[in-house]
Amino acid sequence: MLATWDRSIRPAGEARLVIGVLGALAVLGGTAAVARAGEQAAAAAPAVPVPARVDSGDTAWVLVSAALVMLMTPGLAFFYGGLVRRKNMLSVLMQCLMLLCLISLQWVVLGYSLSFAPGTGLIGGLKWLFLSGVGLEPNADYAATIPHQVFMMFQMMFAVITPALIIGAFAERMKFSSLCVFMLLWATFVYDPVAHWVWGVGGFLRQWGALDFAGGTVVHINAGMTALAAALVLGRRQGYPEGISPPHNLPFAVLGAALLWFGWFGFNAGSALGAGGLAGSAFTVTHIAAAAAGLTWALLDWLKHKKPTTLGMITGAVGGLVSITPASGYVTPAGAICIGIGAGLIPWVAVTYIKAALGYDDALDAFGVHGVGGIWGAIATGLFATKSVNPAGADGLFYGNPVLLWIQIKTVLITVVFSFVVGLVLLKLVQACMGLRVSEHEERVGLDLALHREAAYTVID
């Protein structure tokens, strides 16, 4: 069903792109209205009847995968937390935990419906608000062999970790209350629509035939671009770049990276929504790409700085995981190695040269790794995808089909623009209403004490 791209573009590609972006922006003004309309539209188009029966093996795997993806948010918290200064450790953990709570509830209340309920090409309907109608029977539109609620929970974990990724950009200086408000808005006006475009039945990018197996566009480009916007809007930390101490606890960052890697098996292989060959293939290429990217970054450090660094290796591995995400259901192990090498190289260049040259303070490289890595992954999917791995996918450029690459590029552009622009608008809005940045004094003291009245570690006890 994802293979309908071949007749959809070429003629009116550009026009559609413009329409798409404009349309998407319109969402901001009238989500609910659009959504209601969508609901009616969907009602008209009956779903293809597929005999849906719960398979215990598939369900077991997706349940596990959902748990694994849930673990990625604390994993990310430690990955990020280990990199900040001691005085801000808890603030990072707290932000991630808060998103785990807050966005989970947003998802139950309206996020899932906006993303996946039958709707228009731009946004899901409101039929599944408060999970009404999301039961224990499979929904064959998304996964014919697992309970609908399990699919919903699996997707929830994606909705949670995506905003958490953005935290890396404004770490050590963002107001906590503003973060909560901003993230609620962002989940509703950025994440949910983009998830619908790419994965929702009727989503326009899905219609085009854009391939995004496990969220390169929806999760990584999306988060990465808003991260860039956030780094620009919030400005640099005091003393950046010289006056910022090195990571206060690299072992915690390694722990976080390990949990991310572990969880990513659920993220990517779980996206097969069943335990069979496709899951196995996604599992394989996920691991290989991470390994290749970790090695690549370490070697680049070795070349440039004479020594391979631990932080470099884990950053590379995470970059590899990011980049393989959209491709993970469509490429061979050889493709995965190529994608992994690119995922070590391109974000490395972004973080080493581009960030330094442009001077924005993307504190923990949320844009540099997730944005840049996500873009590479989406484009690489257009290069390396092959139907030999997944007949429901498409062939990429290296398998003789240039069209997919073009679709992927358009998808990237649309998402890049949409996430950046809407992210920026939302940030400005929150800034105007309640401010985004803590006071200079609070930043000096550290967010742990200033915003949470706690210290991560005791000095004397």
């Binding site: 003393g239 010289e242 009245r453 000095v459």
Partner: protein, 113 residues
């Protein structure tokens, strides 16, 4: 010779070190301490139990200098650490009758720099 001890706010360390370098005072020993002073600590909260947190993180500098450098050292620390707010810290100057450089065995004024 004098043994200068400075207690400063943690986030002023970089600035103080810069000022000291400008005055060509390169040798310095730094450590973590907790201070109780006029500055009131922020109350920490743990499961609704309030911990007055009267001990605040500070940085301690120790600098052994020849007499001629004492005032420059005090000034460099003061300039770098001063914000005008309570908690800025203190400088203590002790007499230092003797000093030895372990590497060379030199003593006194020669050893200090």
């Amino acid at each position: 010779m004098k043994y200068v001890i400075g207690i400063i706010q943690p986030d002023r360390l970089d600035e103080v070190l810069k000022r000291l370098t400008e005055e060509e005072i390169n040798l310095v020993t730094v450590s973590n301490v907790l201070g109780r002073g006029r500055q009131k600590g922020v109350a920490q909260v743990y499961r609704s139990h309030k911990e007055q947190g009267s001990l605040l993180k500070k940085i301690k500098l120790e600098i052994a200098v020849n007499e001629a450098f004492v005032e420059r050292t005090v000034k460099a620390i003061t300039d770098g650490a001063h914000t005008g707010q309570i908690g800025d810290g203190k400088i203590f100057v002790l007499d230092l009758p003797e000093c030895v450089r372990i590497r060379t065995g030199e003593r006194g004024n020669e050893a200090i720099g």
